[in-house]
Symmetry: C2
């Protein structure tokens, strides 16, 4: 008999079916074995009398996480999870597990500390909540691409081994490349800008590497970056309009296609306003003085507390979970940032705050060759390592800009989990290289 | 006036429009400037009298690749490329290019050697043929994902910094990870297998890194791998059936959505048969003896000449550009390969040959913990570096398998270009780390 998925079983009440998957749980009650089988789509309860029917499990000493096949009759059973279960079973053990698991998986919340969860991520990812988190990541990537493809963006894949550090010499992993030094790309920034000169509109989903020696709940040293960059923009507001649509597309896609995962993780989904409110960096500092009596004017950046206050204000004033802060001071932004033509000490860049925490950074970049030469000189950076990059601007580039979303940070903030490592498939941090 | 794309101009005959892009070519003929403007969608001819109309170009000394905006009337003109052109122009120079380009781009085939092409890839990618090649890559990635998503595969992103070499200690890039040694992943093999235990069906599109010291037309040291892996297979034939559908999906999507690129590159598109013919490794060696009088029996692998002969045979016998060779000897396959239960010196693995060259490798993997322990011992590999990986099999894994397609190799073989570097966005080889 052909195997069907647990999802398909719901349409087969009264029929005999064959399912395959992992034995997620097994308990005995009054001479009956209650089993929950989990496959790639979901779970299904199956009920067997202890004795002949359950004999294959007993004979192979198959415990939880054993891979099994079950043939049975689909019966409506209002008390069963999902309202159906399998009876009159023929059980076949495919891969018996005879050892006790290092972590018990079949509670919704696993009773294990973070280190144990991560040490055994190979197994703990099988827990429904953990699996739901990773699946949301797949949904975010798909939605990001879908929004951009419908806007004629071309997908790119740029090299991760590079000859020079992307933005500065700091925080970069060094590599032995056939006896020469090389580095891991901190971002696809330069390459996505270069490819605006080729395709006009580009995006990339790929790993980035940051050798930041920070051991915090918000840092991992390798993460997935969702990058977009495009030409013929007016200024950073064109970029902000696109990012708004990308965020709306992601939220809509998750709502539509990941309702089960969102429910399991108790995610309070935000509404993305038609137009996300925005405030200039200098006005934000004035606002903080007025509302909270704290004078942060003159500070070159916003503190986490500043961001929380601004988030509260956006919620009160506009009912919005999202807020753009624009015009960060040039001195805190990388050399390729485009200044505000009216107030050149401020930049045409922005941060998107989500519920009072920075989620996305973006902006308009320089696009004139002469501006790059001046910016490198001002930053006291040599021209030579950037020569290939500069070629793109030397030979014609329109006004352009873009943004980068950190996939794991987005999942962390959306789901409200306390540590970005729990939104990362196999996290890399200062102390962790496995699994 | 709102800018529209060159693609949209075709629907605007008789109207006045505004386009923006790069000045791809500029030639004078009888007091007239013929310009070709290129944007992210295509090209458009614009015609201006030398004098007032062309003055902005002259004043800013704007040569080819300058970024310009043109307002003009859309006129049907059968002799013009695409059958339309712009008249009565108002030209605005956005970013003038006043230097001569290092490579002339506006011939279809660029007159430059490979080194120059690659040294200036930042610019040479703007050539329509080069751009078409890279765009086909985007199409392949999108089609690969689409086929798998409709079959309920979950997209994964696995770490590229790893604690131990994936398959062997050789050909791996070594990294300084906060003072500890680490490596760049040679493939997502172990992680995709692990995640079969979580999602059952997974795929990944991402970079892989091979420190192979080979300077050939078919090798680069970083490339994009399209990986799929799934559980509850019968054997490698289940994997081959999926790969057939993936290849058919890729070819169909390119035909449908990339006709212009395929035309420009003169690609002779293959037909993917409903069922790709297959031959066992040992029968393939017998066939070569019969047809060509060369006795390669006893060889552990097929040579490029063997593959060409088999490709010719598949074309003659089945009219197929594709051929599966199954059952490669175990001793030439990695330790996780599943043996043929009937003839354990042969494996449940395959290569997909396309027009007589290996294109994809895949197969069934071991799925029982005890088999892994035995395989590692036979390969004289220690267990310890593989412990996290083995956890997946220790705690229940179904029969599973998968394959990996090298994106750039696929583009190379499909388009018939002589060097894989020309199918790579920014190639990395033994001598090249830039651009």
């Amino acid at each position: 008999m052909q195997r069907i998925s647990t999802l398909e079983v719901r349409a087969c009440v009264g029929e005999r079916v064959r399912v395959k998957g992992w034995l997620q749980s097994l308990r005995q009650m009054g001479g009956i074995n209650f089993m929950v089988l989990r496959d790639g789509w979901g779970t299904l309860q199956a009920v067997a009398e202890i004795g002949a029917e359950s004999a294959p499990l007993v004979e192979s000493a198959a415990g939880v996480e054993s891979v099994i096949a079950i043939e049975g009759d689909v019966v409506e059973m209002p008390r069963a999870p999902g309202g159906i279960e399998l009876h009159n079973l023929r059980i076949e053990v495919v891969s018996p597990v005879t050892e006790v698991l290092p972590v018990s998986l079949n509670k919704r919340k696993m009773a294990a500390n973070l280190t144990t969860l991560l040490d055994h991520a190979v197994i703990t990812h099988r827990n429904p909540e953990r699996r739901a988190m990773l699946r949301l990541g797949a949904g975010v990537m798909a939605a990001f691409r879908a929004v951009l493809v419908t806007r004629d963006f071309t997908e790119i894949q740029t090299p991760k081994i590079v000859a020079a550090a992307t933005e500065s010499g700091a925080n970069v992993f060094k590599l032995d490349y056939f006896g020469r030094p090389a580095y891991l790309a901190q971002s696809p920034q330069f390459y996505k800008q270069i490819l605006v000169g080729v395709f006009e509109r580009v995006f990339e989903v790929g790993p980035v590497f940051r050798a930041e020696p920070h051991d915090t709940t918000r840092h991992v040293n390798e993460f997935v970056s969702l990058d977009a960059e495009f030409g013929f923009i007016e200024n950073h507001f064109t970029v902000m309009a696109l990012l708004r649509d990308v965020m709306a597309g992601i939220i809509a896609h998750l709502r539509e296609s990941y309702a089960a995962e969102l429910g399991l993780l108790h995610v309070v989904m935000p509404v993305v306003p038609e137009k996300i409110p925005h405030i200039h960096f200098s006005d934000a500092q004035e606002l903080i003085l007025q509302r909270h009596g704290v004078d942060v004017r003159g500070e070159p950046d916003l503190s986490p507390q500043d961001e929380r206050w601004l988030g509260e204000w956006a919620k009160e004033e506009f009912g919005s979970d999202f807020l753009y802060v624009t015009g960060y001071p040039m001195r805190k932004r990388p050399f390729y940032t485009h200044p505000d033509p009216e107030r050149p000490e401020y930049s045409n860049s922005f941060d998107l705050l989500f519920r009072g925490t920075e989620l996305v950074t973006g902006g308009q970049r320089l696009h004139r060759y002469a501006d790059y030469l001046a910016a490198l000189e001002k930053a006291q950076l040599p021209v030579e390592p950037f020569e290939s990059y500069l070629e793109a601007f030397r030979y014609g580039m329109p006004p352009e800009g873009g943004f980068a979303i950190g996939l794991e940070r987005l999942l962390m903030q959306l789901t409200g989990i306390p540590n970005v490592r729990l939104a990362t498939t196999f996290p890399r941090d200062m102390n962790r290289l496995t699994p």
